[in-house]
């Protein structure tokens, strides 16, 4: 089925491309921020609250427990959320254009 001219025009329009990139970039940056706050915040926590971070939790120090164990599941949650949202975003974008 060849695309109708209007649909083709939509796809190749400046507006479509910028909205596409803006929406994707907003999602990516949001997820990256959630990750960076934790990754870059941990050294700061170690720096400014050394006693809190050295608290013992089941043998671990708090900061060791966060970095050596809890960080991994946290990143899985972020990436799982991102994949779900970005697949939905793509499906929406495709539907918007193809329904024209």
């Amino acid at each position: 089925m060849p695309p109708s001219p209007t649909r083709d025009e939509t796809i190749h329009s400046e507006a479509f491309l910028s909205s596409l990139m803006r929406r994707q970039l907003r999602l990516s940056i949001g997820c990256a921020l959630a990750f960076l706050i934790a990754l870059l915040g941990l050294p700061l926590a170690n720096y400014f609250a050394p006693d809190l971070m050295a608290m013992r939790v089941g043998g671990f120090t708090l900061t060791w427990l966060i970095l050596g164990v809890l960080f991994f599941p946290y990143v899985w949650v972020i990436s799982g959320y991102f994949i779900k949202r970005s697949l939905k975003l793509e499906a929406d974008e495709a539907r918007e254009v193809l329904s024209k």
Partner: protein, 585 residues
């Protein structure tokens, strides 16, 4: 062969058996896959038909190198908390790939990164620059794998010369790549991931069952004196751990378990700064290390090339998710080895590198022998098999990506653009053998260098060259070829120069000791350049691109659409039709 037999007397039969089985399975799978790898597409991108599960296992298998399998445990044991940034950032660098690079790159559709570089900027010159970088970073990352192979084989067969291990691993993998190409290697690496997972987790679980859990072992590092620690009352009700005394060379408990320990304060300590004065410097060091590891992961060419083996962009994203889970689970284990090793095998602190803490993964399981007879040797044998799987899978990935660059980009695109698929396939096999020989010859020369350092250098260069290139090319329309090349070369060369200066001064070839003592911050910024070299590369890209903005490709909107529009719209075929000469394979 007679040399091998001569050393057989001192070899633990279990360790030999497990290592031998690993190598034998790898060779067998190589021959088996040779029958199914028929076309050029099979060789370069595994026919673009690798399923999510296989591909995720294969990427993970390729990624978990000698540095991950042996180096992290050794580093955690040697320097404590600060070394934990390595496994975390290795795993999390993948998140950056997923968020910013994986999907668009896959939608664009190309065999190799140089294909992307040329397609994005319509510039054959840029392809050449990108090829040089693939080969350069690839060889840099190959050398530590080779060194790991040489030292491990010398450990299993005491007295065997270093170069034999390099030659054996090099020959096995070169054979595999030449026989099966990318498709064959994918299956082998997937299998090797599960082998490594098994080889690290089983000994760790057994050790924890016998000597107490992760937290419990860590709990003993609280600065208690030996007399207190030996007192069963001061311990717990079940004194499984009898902590061995720490030798003088080992870092003390409080420094070891806390952040800003021996790794990040080294330069400040050398300059004689007080603990308070050195803390801001080690914060800078920590941040720079994090940036290098995260951006470097997202910019390693042999990892990126894997995204092209997925059937589509959706599969590429699912694959990344699984890779993060697979490597994340793996990376929890090596630090456990380091922690238990500190309590039970502190005598390893006496020697450095491969003779010291670096071999903790192989040595530690053996102490089970004291309680349960032969089981310790079996566990150690399993760990050795994992180490073999580690060198082999990472080297095979590197060899495939370097061979792809040589056979596809140099031969197929530059020298003989009209060659037939059969000719290219023959060239692939020929390039694999040539690069295998070069890698073995180079690998035999690096016995003196440190594994962790060489890996760090490769990461620093990738972080400041490929990562900015990919990130900016995907998200910024205004980028021109000149801007991209200037930023990539500028960042990469800056990182290379800094780390080389550090290397030369550490090997005492250049005497900079006085200078580093006078300027500890400069030492940190040269040892870990990412904190300034990554922004430097990006800013160079922006400035040069603005200055040459008339060179932005004319069909940039179409290129961006192909990169970002959902695949359901079928824009890629449209693009390929418009660019018959540029994108057809």
């Amino acid at each position: 062969m007679s040399t091998v037999l001569a050393f057989f007397g001192g070899v633990d039969p279990w360790i030999f058996a497990f290592s031998f089985i690993t190598v034998a399975i790898t060779i067998w799978m190589g021959f088996r896959s040779a029958k199914t790898s028929k076309t050029a597409s099979d060789f370069f991108v595994a026919g673009r038909s690798v399923s999510v599960g296989w591909n995720a296992s294969a990427i993970s298998g390729e990624y978990l190198s000698a540095a991950s399998f042996m180096g992290i445990a050794g580093m955690v044991m040697a320097v404590g908390y600060d070394a934990l940034w390595y496994p975390v950032c290795y795993a999390c660098g993948y998140l950056f790939l997923l968020l910013f690079i994986a999907g668009p790159l896959r939608r664009f559709g190309a065999y190799t990164i140089p294909d992307f570089a040329e397609g994005r900027y319509d510039s054959p010159v840029f392809r050449k620059i990108a090829v040089v970088f693939v080969l350069f970073i690839g060889l840099f990352y190959t050398l530590p794998q080779m060194k790991g192979a040489g030292t491990t084989l010398a450990y299993i067969f005491p007295g065997l010369p270093y170069w034999v291990g390099v030659a054996v691993v090099g020959a096995v993998i070169t054979l595999n790549v030449a026989l099966g190409g990318m498709k064959g290697i994918t299956l082998v690496q997937a299998m090797q991931y599960w082998m490594k997972m098994f080889a690290i987790s089983v000994p760790v679980f057994v050790l924890m069952a016998v000597f107490g859990g992760y937290g419990k072992n860590l709990g003993y590092n609280d600065g208690r004196t030996l007399a207190e620690a030996m007192n069963p009352v001061a311990l717990t009700q079940s004194p499984e751990v009898v902590r061995e005394p720490l030798p003088a060379k080992a870092p003390k408990d409080d420094v070891w378990i806390a952040p800003f320990g021996p790794l990040t304060t080294k330069a400040a300590k050398a300059a004689g700064l007080s603990a308070e004065e050195s803390k801001p410097l080690s914060l800078v060091y920590t941040y720079s290390l994090i940036i290098a590891l995260v951006c470097g992961t997202a910019g390693l060419p042999h990892i990126l090339v894997r995204f092209y083996t997925n059937p589509d962009g959706v599969a590429a994203k699912r694959t990344t998710m699984w890779v993060m889970i697979l490597i994340g689970v793996f990376y929890v284990f090596p630090p456990v080895m380091g922690v238990i090793g500190r309590n039970l095998l502190p005598e390893l602190y006496a020697a450095a590198g491969a003779k010291g803490t670096d071999k903790i993964v192989l040595e530690l399981p053996r102490i089970i022998n004291e309680r349960y007879g032969v089981w310790g040797s079996i566990m150690s044998g399993i760990a050795c098999a994992g180490a073999f799987a580690a060198f082999m899978s990472t080297f095979s990935g590197l060899l495939v990506s370097m061979t792809g660059a040589l056979a596809h980009d140099v031969y197929g695109r530059m020298l003989r653009p009209h060659s037939t698929p059969e000719q290219r396939m023959r060239m692939f096999k020929f390039s694999a053998i040539a690069l295998g020989i070069v890698s073995v010859l180079l690998g035999a020369q690096v016995e003196k260098l440190q594994i962790a350092f060489m890996v760090g250098q490769a990461f620093a260069i990738a972080a400041a060259s490929y990562f900015p290139l990919l990130f900016m090319s995907v998200w910024w329309r205004g980028m021109t070829m000149k801007g991209a090349a200037a930023g990539m070369l500028g960042g990469g060369v800056a990182a290379l120069v800094c780390t080389t200066v550090i290397n030369l001064s550490d090997l005492d070839l250049v005497n900079l000791k006085e200078f580093w003592i006078a300027h500890p911050i400069l030492r940190i910024l040269s040892e870990q350049p990412a904190i300034w070299s990554v922004p430097f590369a990006i800013i160079t890209m922006i400035i040069v691109s603005k200055a040459t903005s008339k060179d932005v490709p004319k069909d940039i909107r179409m290129k961006m659409l192909v990169l970002h529009a959902p695949e359901q719209l079928g824009l890629k075929n449209e693009y390929i039709q418009e660019h018959q000469a540029g994108a057809g394979h």
